[in-house]
């Protein structure tokens, strides 16, 4: 299979994306590929909520890292960059960093935004884009994002410009001057909804069944350890 065969594949093809990210010619083209893949993975998580909605921050981020690796990206979890960054995707000197947070309120999320912007990234042109991945269990992602972006704008020391919400992915972008370099630092805010409270009868019964099983298991365990 030669390069032409690969380049003629559909844009979402793993073979094509793997090749394109390997030879990415600009920082922006690399970051666009990373962000598109992260959005695909986020969608997969949202489409399989029963499997994922009870997982914690690290487990969810671990799934994203493995999925990025399988897609051909050099991704890692907990790499040291002035602190342990949740998600680092590299290609030569290009770096895209992601900070992942459970939605435990705006103050908690703001810590994530600050870690990403002021601590992990050096603000150089080849690492001037990143993402804040927000795992939310709350209803109404649209309202949630509006509130969150307003909070960022009102609470960060440097003026933050916010772009319009993407109508397909419900993500938003912010941009602010990086404090150490003055380069525009761009953050993609990616809300991942893990709100899962189905209201139909069969889902309610199924949830009751599994919670009853969990309670039984919980009762059995101490009895075993007491022996």
């Amino acid at each position: 299979m030669n390069l032409n065969n690969i380049l003629q594949m559909p844009d979402g093809s793993v073979v094509k994306v793997s090749f394109l990210q390997e030879i990415a010619q600009t920082y922006d083209s690399f970051c666009d590929l990373v962000e598109n893949k992260v959005l695909d993975i986020a969608l997969d998580l949202e489409r399989n909520k029963p499997l994922y909605h009870e997982l914690g921050e690290d487990q969810l981020t671990g799934i994203i890292v493995i999925s990025l690796k399988a897609a051909g990206f050099d991704a890692d979890h907990d790499t040291f960059r002035n602190g342990h960054v949740d998600l680092l995707v590299k290609n030569g000197r290009y770096e895209w960093m992601g900070e992942a947070k459970l939605d435990n309120g705006p103050a908690y999320l703001m810590e994530g935004f600050r870690q990403l912007s002021d601590r992990y990234t050096d603000g150089n042109p080849a690492s001037s884009r990143g993402g804040l991945l927000i795992y939310t269990q709350k209803q109404n992602k649209v309202t949630f994002m509006d509130g969150w972006l307003e909070h960022v704008g009102a609470n960060y020391e440097v003026p933050v410009a916010c772009t319009e919400r993407c109508s397909e992915t419900l993500t938003s972008r912010t941009m602010h001057s990086h404090q150490s370099t003055g380069v525009d630092y761009r953050v993609r805010h990616i809300p991942i909804s893990l709100y899962y409270k189905p209201t139909d009868k069969s889902a309610r019964n199924s949830a009751k069944g599994s919670s009853a099983k969990r309670s039984k298991a919980a009762v059995k365990k101490p009895a075993k350890s007491a022996k």
Binding site: M1, N2, L3, N4, S18, E22, I23, K69, A70, A75
Partner: protein, 132 residues
Amino acid sequence: MINIDRLYEKIQVETTPLGLDGFCYKLVELVMKSAINHPAYTYAALTEALDGCAIEDLQRALNYLKASPINLFAQQYQYVDADGVPHDISREDLQAAMLDNALSHPEHGYLDPDFKERVYILYVADKTVIQL
């Protein structure tokens, strides 16, 4: 370097949810069976070795095994010139060719605008990263 048992355990834990474990095991076995330490494979050879699996599954399994900390495979590029002579080219050569829309011949220096028809991806395994 990674211990073979640790590698299989890692594959099982990390790739089973993605449905890639079977492909990864087969790729590891293929490399282990090789008589040389650095066997090189084309997509066609790998697809055949994996019983004609879909290329997308093959690519995802390869990507997983070439990522750190496993690093079992490395991606390389081979340019077969108009005379049929193969030349290894670097990623940087290829990046430059994509920008210029022509590849500078590794030996003669002339520009080949049809390089996309003549560049192939090879996956070169490093058997020595697996500790038995």
